[in-house]
């Protein structure tokens, strides 16, 4: 409602040669400096990771990409990222499958369905959820969620074990699996996705919604016809923000997951690992070489995150023309 401005409404002097004053130059310098600073920091991280990583990978006695175990402190060192890459991607995927629909639902409810009296405190609660430190999520996950998910695990194992992924090798083992990690990550990224989506939903031009209403659309049809298409790229950006957090989450995963170098499609088995969890677990006792090896795994996570973000940008860029955002 506040962003509704008609296209022709440029400030009158926008085409005239700009008068520059000291303030302009200072501001230009500051904003340009910030941009450059960001690039420098990214480059510094990339160079640091690459240099240390190449050293470690060159001394690895087994294939870095296909080895399951992580024994960087042994002589000879032998370590690989297969389990970590798989665990990171799978747990984040589970988190996204759960979190995106729920978050969009919450955001729609807050922006379009809930009465104002309910919407404000609800939005506040979601913000509060985003402020909980991840170690607290980890403690809650380990001490509360894990025992309470045992029932769901047994149910899935009993009725859905034919799918393969929900088959539990030892039904009596605790639910400290990638599946549980996925659920916990979902809870952790819901607030981010919800907040960003909510802001996007609020920027849908009132005219679009009123037009739909004028055509006799129900509230659901308004959401489907005018809100969701307009907000699609925003939802994707929001999801990518959430995915970024899920990919890099450390303490919560380290607390909840029973890590072991086993790559299994059975999501309920207490096996696996993630990049960040592995770094957290191995860092304290690692010698110099062990740290380099962990940094190499960090580089892979860095690359995966870059790829995911790049893919998201592509999707957004392609969707933009259909989204109505340029209407």
């Amino acid at each position: 409602m506040d962003i509704v401005n008609s296209p022709g409404e440029h400030p009158p002097n926008s085409r005239q040669p700009a008068v520059t004053r000291l303030g302009d130059r200072v501001f230009l310098g500051m904003s340009r400096g910030s941009g450059i600073l960001l690039l420098v920091i990214m480059a510094a991280i990339a160079v640091f990771l690459t240099v240390r990583a190449i050293h470690a990978i060159s001394l690895d006695h087994s294939d870095f990409f296909t080895t399951f175990e992580w024994n960087a402190n042994l002589q000879p060192p032998s370590f690989g990222i297969a389990v970590l890459a798989y665990g990171t991607v799978v747990s984040s995927l589970i988190a996204m499958i759960i979190a995106v629909p729920v978050s969009v639902g919450i955001a729609l409810f807050i922006s379009h369905y809930a009465p104002r009296k309910l919407a404000t405190p609800l939005a506040y609660l979601v913000d509060l959820l985003a402020a909980v430190p991840s170690i607290v999520y980890g403690l809650w996950g380990g001490l509360y969620l894990v025992p309470h998910l045992q029932g769901l695990n047994l149910w899935l194992n009993e009725y859905l074990s034919w799918t393969g992924i929900f088959h539990k090798s030892d039904p009596s083992s605790a639910a400290r699996s990638l599946f549980t990690v996925g659920i916990l990550l979902a809870i952790m990224i819901v607030p981010i996705i919800t907040n960003v989506s909510r802001e996007v939903f609020r920027q849908v031009p009132k005219a679009h919604e009123e037009a739909a209403l004028a055509l006799g659309a129900t509230r659901w049809e308004v959401v489907r016809m005018s809100v969701l298409p307009f907000a699609r790229s925003g939802i994707i950006s929001a999801s990518m923000l959430g995915l970024g957090r899920a990919l890099g989450e450390t303490m919560a995963v380290a607390t909840v997951l029973s890590a072991s170098p086993v790559l299994s499609a059975r999501l309920l088995d207490p096996v696996g690992g993630t990049f960040a969890q592995n770094i957290a677990a191995k860092f304290a006792e690692a010698d110099n070489f062990g740290r380099d090896a962990l940094i190499a795994s960090g580089l892979v996570l860095f690359v995966i995150t870059l790829l995911v973000n790049g893919a998201a940008r592509l999707i957004i860029a392609r969707r933009k023309e259909y989204s109505g955002a340029n209407a």
Binding site: W70, N71, N73, S260, K282, A284, N288
Partner: protein
């Protein structure tokens, strides 16, 4: 406007005072607790016998297994020697040794003795041709805790433990376990064996024991990272203890203090001695007394005899070290380092430990350690 702002500030200040005083109060509270858990007379007696070194700022870091012991020692030493500051950061043995080799700490605490290449590196930090040496300082039993409702006195031996943690024994009513516990009502449930997911000296010592006492059943190399394939894991001793506490059918290893703190029953180990040995400070001290010094020169690295059959010696014991230079320590901290370590190795320093789940050094070894400390230069 101004007035409201002032009152706002004032209320903020009042709030800050309330919060900080609450913090101070809780800090006092926790101090008192740790004081009462160590023998009550300990600190005052210790204060009388501590010979203070010259005032200095001692930085040290390393083993987390030593943390509780260090806390007690540092507190007592700083109480007795005003003006001295000792700061021990429990960063993990690996990080502690690394920092020592970079020359940023006066000494390191480590769960394992220096490796040959680390000794070589230490020669660049220790001046006057000195090198890093290992001084055994804190020992302690590693308990194997279990969660089996209705089973009180579980007895296991090294081969059975090795098979359980290697998933070769998967059920609690396995004949091998039944044979060791003829009268216990063992359930047919599966065994949930927990190990550490982070690298740790506890894992290193636990697997060293399995390899030392049951080589044919434990085929993995040692090391701080867990090598066996199966089983479940949790971070830190506290994490493993929490899992054992809340999972029926679980078994896991951690320092004895964690078992005591959470009331987790521990396994008695059948060593071939006249009776199975329970984890305790005394039993661990007996085990350390049985150890041989394998370090050369001033180095006092110990080798435990894991296959011991001595009566009352608990074989699953770890010894941790303080690492310093034998010659060429930094002159500004040398005196304080010697004074502090001398107190730590003294009878008073060692006696205060058994309440914390540690094992005091046997007299013979403590005497040797003290004479080595006095020769540091």
């Amino acid at each position: 406007m101004k007035l409201t702002r002032k009152t706002g500030l004032r209320s903020l200040a009042v709030g800050a005072i309330a919060v900080s005083s609450a913090l101070v109060l809780t800090a006092c509270g926790s101090d008192n607790n740790s004081g009462s858990s160590s023998p009550s007379g300990g600190s005052s007696n210790a204060a009388a016998s501590i010979k203070c070194g010259s005032k200095a700022n001692l930085l040290a870091s390393g083993s987390t297994a030593q943390k509780n012991a260090m806390d007690v020692w540092v507190k007592n030493y700083m109480q007795a020697c005003s003006g001295s500051q000792i700061n021990y950061k429990p960063t993990g043995s690996g990080a502690g040794v690394t920092e020592f080799l970079q020359g940023s700490t006066a000494f390191a605490g480590s769960d394992s003795a220096l490796k040959p290449d680390e000794v070589t590196k230490s020669k660049s930090v220790c001046k006057n041709g000195g090198q890093g040496i290992d001084l055994p300082m804190v020992g302690g039993p590693i308990a194997v805790g279990y969660n089996l409702p209705g089973v009180d006195n579980l007895v296991l031996d090294a081969p059975t433990l090795a098979k359980i943690f290697d998933s070769k024994i998967a059920k609690w009513d396995d004949p091998a376990i039944k044979k060791l516990n003829p009268s216990a009502k063992l359930p047919s449930s599966s065994i949930q064996a927990f190990h550490r997911s982070d690298e740790s000296g506890t894992t290193d010592n636990f697997t060293k024991y399995l390899k030392g006492a049951a080589a044919s059943d434990w085929s993995y190399s040692g090391g701080k990272a867990w090598q066996a394939k199966n089983g479940q894991s949790a971070p830190q001793s506290s994490g493993v203890a929490a899992q054992v506490k809340q999972t029926a059918g679980a078994i896991g290893y951690f320092e004895l203090s964690y078992a005591t703190a959470s009331n987790i029953p521990t396994v008695k180990i059948d060593t071939g001695a006249s009776a199975p040995v329970a984890a305790s400070s005394d039993a661990a001290s007996k085990m350390i007394a049985d150890a041989k010094v394998v370090g050369t020169g001033n180095d006092m690295a110990l080798k435990l005899n894991y296959a011991t059959k001595a009566d009352g010696a608990y074989p699953l014991t770890l010894v941790t070290y303080e690492i310093a230079c034998d010659k060429g320590n930094k002159p500004e901290t040398l005196d304080a380092t010697k004074a502090f370590l001398n107190y730590v190795a003294s009878d008073d320093g060692q006696k205060g430990l058994s309440g914390q789940g540690y094992a005091p050094l046997p007299t013979e070894i403590a005497t040797k350690v003290r004479s080595t400390i006095s020769s540091l230069s």
